[in-house]
Symmetry: D2
Subunit: 377 residues, 4 copies
């Protein structure tokens, strides 16, 4: 019941502070027999790691992962998989000057009030650095989902501040530092970010994630619904302030005739549900969208208070992301992978395996017609 454990059967227990000796996690419940290597995990970590372009933080962290347990002769053994990432570039001196004050928009004040402790080293546990371990654990989940069910999990940036990014192609996502699914818009994004960086301010973003190939039937109503657990996972990413499934907030103005997805023998005609009905996957794409707030670490003067409650002016000179949304895509993918894997196992526990135990019915064409790409793009 640990607050730092994600998942009920595929359990990721995370540890580590931004500027402590290391971060890492223990992944428990992974099925045995999955081939996995540190190199494969590294590939995902490299997508998230800092310092890869001028638009993200310049902190130098190789984010090199070591597998400490749970893998023997190249495959998972079914025992806990411990992943360790040593911190390298923990310039705590950058933060010394803020040890007595609270940065507005950060969780400094909240952590201090909750625990009575002020770990001022780069935000300590509240730092987004922790998300590296989610990406590492997610790499295991996505490999298993891919191998066993052919599930693909892909995300992209759909809006950068005021600039919507129309979806064109999954192929483009990996070709620019923004995870933008659109080549033509990249120069505009770069120009926007360059100007922003100069201004010392920061900006929000919207990230979409899609899982393709999820079988119908995953999710544990009425509380541990698939969409509820996705919302939990996404809102649990640093800086996320909103989560949508499928049509999301657009459904407020939709009529039933418009929103509810009609079914035909060839499949659903639309996917306003975003792949989840009644908390259970429908067999369509799972479509999630989230809002990432602008980072609160900015170089501009802000009003705040110190530990004595006295007014102070704070501005933050550490190395930060002016748009934390830029690096959020691999994190969101990882979180979705972890939730899906957890539910795959939970479903298998109660109902048997979709691929073996449940040929109970002729499968209806599950994915015939649907809106692709997802509604937000």
């Amino acid at each position: 019941m640990s607050g730092n454990t994600l998942g009920k059967l595929f359990c990721v227990t995370s540890f580590g502070e931004s500027h402590g000796p290391a971060i890492g996690c223990v992944v428990d419940g992974c099925p045995p027999g999955l081939p996995i290597s540190a190199q494969e995990i590294q590939v995902e970590l490299d997508r998230r790691k800092p310092g890869t372009s001028r638009h993200v933080t310049q902190r130098r962290e190789p984010d090199e992962v070591e597998i400490l347990s749970g893998v023997f002769e190249g495959v998972t053994t079914g025992t806990p998989i411990a992943l360790l990432i040593r911190n390298q570039d923990q310039r705590s001196r950058d933060y010394g000057n803020i040890s007595e004050t609270f940065r507005p928009g950060h969780a400094d004040y909240e952590y201090w009030q909750k625990y009575g402790i002020r770990d001022y080293r780069g935000g300590g546990r509240s730092s987004a650095r922790e998300t590296a371990v989610r990406v590492a654990a997610g790499a295991i989940a996505r490999k298993w989902l891919k191998e066993r069910y052919g599930i693909a999990i892909r995300g992209f940036m759909s809006q950068l501040g005021p600039i919507p990014i129309p979806f064109e192609s999954w192929d483009e996502v990996a070709r620019n530092p923004f995870f933008a699914p659109n080549a033509g818009i990249v120069p505009q994004l770069e120009a926007y970010m360059d100007e922003l960086r100069k201004s010392g301010d920061s900006i929000g973003a919207r990230i979409d994630v899609v899982a393709t190939g999820v079988p119908v039937g995953w999710g544990e109503p009425v509380y541990d619904r698939l969409d509820a657990d996705i919302a939990y996972a996404m809102m649990g990413i640093n800086a996320v302030k909103g989560v949508e499934i499928g049509a999301g907030f657009e459904c407020v103005t939709q009529h039933g005739t418009e929103h509810s997805d009609e079914m035909t023998p060839e499949g659903y005609l639309t996917n306003n549900a975003g792949g989840v009905l009644g908390g259970i996957s429908s067999g369509q794409d799972i479509i999630v969208s989230m809002a990432v707030k602008p980072t609160s670490s900015i170089r501009l003067d802000r009003r705040s208070i110190d530990k004595q409650g006295k007014p102070v002016i704070v501005n933050t000179h550490g190395r930060h992301d002016p748009c934390v949304g830029i690096r959020a895509t691999p994190i969101a993918e990882a979180m979705l992978a972890i939730v899906l894997m957890d539910h795959a196992l939970r479903h298998r526990a109660q109902c048997g395996d979709v691929t073996t135990d449940t040929p109970r019915i002729a499968r209806l064409a599950p994915q015939g017609v649907q809106r692709v790409p997802p509604p937000r793009a």
Copy 2:
């Protein structure tokens, strides 16, 4: 780890189908010594129950609650509190004609695929009728939160389909069947609903919930954040497709200078965070907004399939809510109450009680200046 249990320490385990003998729940972990009666719980149930106006379903359910255990001589004993609501008006015949088909937009097909069972009686477990037990359990949570911390949890409808409902006053909320915080707009809402009902269609809505008086320090990062658990709880309400905390999706276009809430000795200057930073309550109002989709039970013809995968036309003649959002406010309040109570206990477990153990610091004025009412209204 039951999918039908909400909460980690204040645990609500729900049971029951729409048209079975009864619905109910077991509330475990409630602190002893709380005065509570069936009458107090009934007050909350009556706010949600069907048949109270022409704008909601005409099913006749008194929703009378019986306390089976856990309360002795008028106070909670610390042992599990079982709450029972017998179903009265379960006209299953209304549903007989749909036993072989799947209603589009419902979870019929998903439940059938997941469990291999087709409980066609009014949606069975997937029916929103189950939310009555959340309201009942929530009544206990809100009383404890009120008594111990002075917390008030209040919700309202902030948009009905295309009609935004400007916030005017909490006092109005109880005076109209829509939970609208605005007297002047009620005739417009009534006219809209009357026309909608005639058309046989349905519509979405937006609901906001606010918790006032929550102490700083609740929430269990990095995964069981307060906002993550709120997102889980709200997305877990039937028909909800989106959840926002504070500024929500507006933060996508906000700059850091605009979004991050400055602090002064007198308190925060704004509340874009919606009362949660780093997953921990900030002491400001907790502000949550959610999108409720239009019900899929409409009297208009819709394309669907039957259990053999053959095409059929479905329209639903049962007694339904043309806007399920109308009755969602008490449910959302209850869910927020349950989450907050759970986190109150979790915080007390690890850090001691805020009112006794932690006078460690002079409390900063937590709630000085903030946007009231919440940003969405």
Copy 3:
């Protein structure tokens, strides 16, 4: 994480007081499609119920169970199964005189100190009456285990106070009120109990339970071992003070050459392990033994204190079992069934189903030679 929930995937959440309106439970996580009826559950309840012979409490409780949810058209639906047993014969007046005092050997003082509440009605929640719901839930588990894996779970009394009961035959167990596997010894047991009852005193007992047909591979090391969870379940039965697996405490004086069970292509040669090695089932019989203390409700004078801490003399005139061990056999069977079912689902979640996913190896003859009946008998 409720203290009143048993199991992680097959979850039994219990409620109810001895002299409140009802006791019952919610069983969540049961696989769908299992045929089950109230009558089948009743059969198990009748084995445990009071008043069936002169050797047990004369309280008249029909223990009639009602299924409130989770079963439709005679089979489980996969949704929570609520079971309700109304209390009939709650003569609280028997207990009025003890409302201000603490009965020695009971949990009166402990409940009062923990919760600040004194529910004096027959022990309230601490009464063994609660075990009826375990038996009811266990009936579901044992049916599923029987149907799916052919597992049989059977218990018997192996010692009544000073009288060891040699194992002769499973067939005898149902033919006497003691669950004694030995017809010849029954007159001796009856004489012993008659004399004991006259004396007003009570006596302890030893109960053994055996599960046959459990597949190799169940159990979740290193903490949620199968034997650890069995120990938890058995020690969690009212009045149990000791639990053994296999050779149990005899292993203290055993050499490795004697204790460790040799294997041959035909199977194990012995079963000192009691069917569990390294926390995982070995394919041999699971063998459990437990010590049940003498009930503390006796008609003889005992020294105690009242709520003011003053010395008092207590003797208990309610209707009680002079040997609670007599009715413990069905409870112990139920607990073992629940633990095994929980682990069956947990194993299936991580490793796939033993009957479908894992023909990975030619199965070694698992049960060739072993000590039958179990070592204790």
Copy 4:
């Protein structure tokens, strides 16, 4: 819900194989503000570590612990505490010859059947080496229990094979390699072990653990009873086959007049309950006894099978403990500490803190007269 996590609120998640790169754990839920250092943890590890006398395994493991997170400036921060112990002396070659066979009495066959993987390196995850992390985590728990409640947790060996060890003094326990509370008997134990070692065989033992100073009121009935969780924890230690609380199996032959502990204003007169009634601590000493089986790693020929099911003769030449019970005392103490701390937090969550919230009653003299030392000695 991970099988490798111990505790509900004070959560220890363990990882690592005997001959992998490292073992370790993540301790989540520890209250903030506890002063703790690697040195303090090391003190406990050194009590358990191998190679300290000729009577235990000669494997050379310094068992040096590194704190990776959760401690800042010498005190716990409330965030997860990761503890890492690198394996040094992992002579896997000792085990190469057993990679195709199953050692009788070990979990080789069970792990292989469960996971389909044969990690033959010293037993892999099933090795008792994993217990080092329990001792490390337990060091944190016992410090907190000591500081906050003055609780002392102490264990000793009460029987070595056929030799009962009468309790004389806690002071002796640390003065001999057996944790024997009796100086006079040590030569006899040494002689016995020397002869045993020569024979190549192994032997069982009995270990007792006592917690003094536990407040009345801890434990979560009716399932997560304090004694049930203790039984789970102790049976979860490698090689344990039986657990008793208080009088344990002696209660089988006790009468109620003998077993149930009378109370007086000065305290209880006896402690047959072993400090737990109805699953709740009584304020008396918590007394636990457990049976540790003889290790199955012996140098004598044993019948077994290989992966093809063919008969083989196995004997084990690695470095092993001829009596694993000798090193079990610190492990049992650690497990008891972890369980108690978990329940301290659970109790505080629901009922408030015993030291602050609950001056509800004048405390009765809780510990007046009782059997000291515990009944077994």
